[in-house]
Symmetry: C2
Subunit: 238 residues, 2 copies
């Protein structure tokens, strides 16, 4: 029985349905219903998100974000979000938006925060305030290609969180682990790799490049997982 | 003679200084000056970006992005950028912004696009259009903690690019490699790991948790690099 059906039944059977339990702004009643539904039918938990990006000029591009797939359906939002990226003039842009690295840090800050909030809510822990700063160090010699020993990406990312909650020290320690333990973006950036390392496949077709970078990675429990970044590039002229 | 010297000389010798070379909206004259300056003094290439995030309610948080460090100076923008993150109601949010995973995909789309544009500009390749779609698959059983064998993060990320440029097929193949080859965000997400794997250190203090996740990774050239995600969490009550 879906939650909608259950709700409809409840409305018929009970004139005053049970109050929903809201903690930290999260509907914990619905959260537990979701967890139970996923245990019965795991495919409900499979989501696919996307962004569509259009280059405008120089470093300036604009992404549109709306539809996604999840809970066994294609979902359209009532409105689209637009995100502009650019570089500061010191990096030869016109500062029409944060740069791509800052978007990465934003993803991490938002993810660890909401993960902390949801998992605290599920445990009945009331959070008063969360503020965080996420910063990343990068050496642009990688990007510029002037020194091949320098990696392109962030060399260090630091997160610091200030959290207010009425808890004992021990409870607070448990709370502080929730964000890092369950955050999807933190995992996407830090999941440790063991074993066979990287395999690269490259398939070049007429006027197009397909680049497939696969890596085998184990998660914290030692289960082999598949992480891939697949890229398809087409020449519009062909 | 450095380009700065050349420019200074030109200004003395010629009342009308040489026009700057702009390709794809990128000032290639300034780009080459930057590359030359970095070769002389590599510390110019060290940048540090940051976001400051504040939790609002439920999955809704807001990041402020402004200052950063780079080119040996602390830089403040003339205006701050604000980015709201939230979840769609199906994930128990109020849809006040893209979610954290979508921000991650945005970071990747924007980064590969601007990297392609800059490196094409440096090679004198005029790009007419770039459009891309970046999508990521995630199984939320990881986030929910209902199945520990499921990773928290994205399982697959696919990028597809449509690029218009007046090039031969071979030139186009070379062009298509530029984004993935030099993109900082792509590298942050996919850099293959070899060697000693992950080390974890944890230092628990009174009312606070310091979590340090370090990993040793080698880059594509086999040079040992240091990638760390350092987290400090403080209880505002203490």
């Amino acid at each position: 029985m879906s939650s909608n059906q259950r709700k409809a039944t409840a409305e018929v059977l009970e004139p005053a349905p049970q109050a929903e339990n809201i903690v930290n702004g999260v509907n914990v009643t619905a959260l537990f219903q979701t967890v139970e539904a996923v245990k019965v039918n795991p495919v409900i938990a499979k989501f696919r998100f996307n962004v569509k990006n259009k280059w405008l000029d120089g470093a300036h591009s604009r992404s549109t974000i709306n539809g996604f797939h999840g809970a066994m359906q294609d979902i359209e939002r009532s409105r689209s979000f637009q995100l502009d990226a650019d570089e500061h003039p010191i990096l030869l842009g016109r500062d029409q938006g944060p740069n791509a690295g800052e978007y990465l840090l934003q993803a991490l800050a938002a993810c660890v925060t909401s993960t902390l909030i949801y998992h605290a809510a599920a445990r009945g822990i009331v959070i008063e305030e969360v503020e965080s700063k996420v910063e990343g160090d990068i050496d642009l010699r990688g990007f510029l290609g002037t020194d091949k020993s320098v990696r392109n990406g962030f060399q260090n990312i630091r997160m610091s969180f200030d959290i207010s909650a009425d808890l004992s020290d021990q409870e607070f320690e448990e709370l502080a682990k929730l964000g890092p333990t369950f955050s999807p973006v933190l995992d996407s950036l830090t999941s440790p790799c063991h074993g066979s390392g990287a395999t690269h496949e490259k398939e070049i077709m007429r006027g197009a490049l397909k680049l497939l970078v696969d890596r085998q990675a184990m998660n914290a429990e030692g289960v082999l997982q598949h992480v891939s970044c697949r890229q398809e590039i087409r020449n519009k002229h062909n």
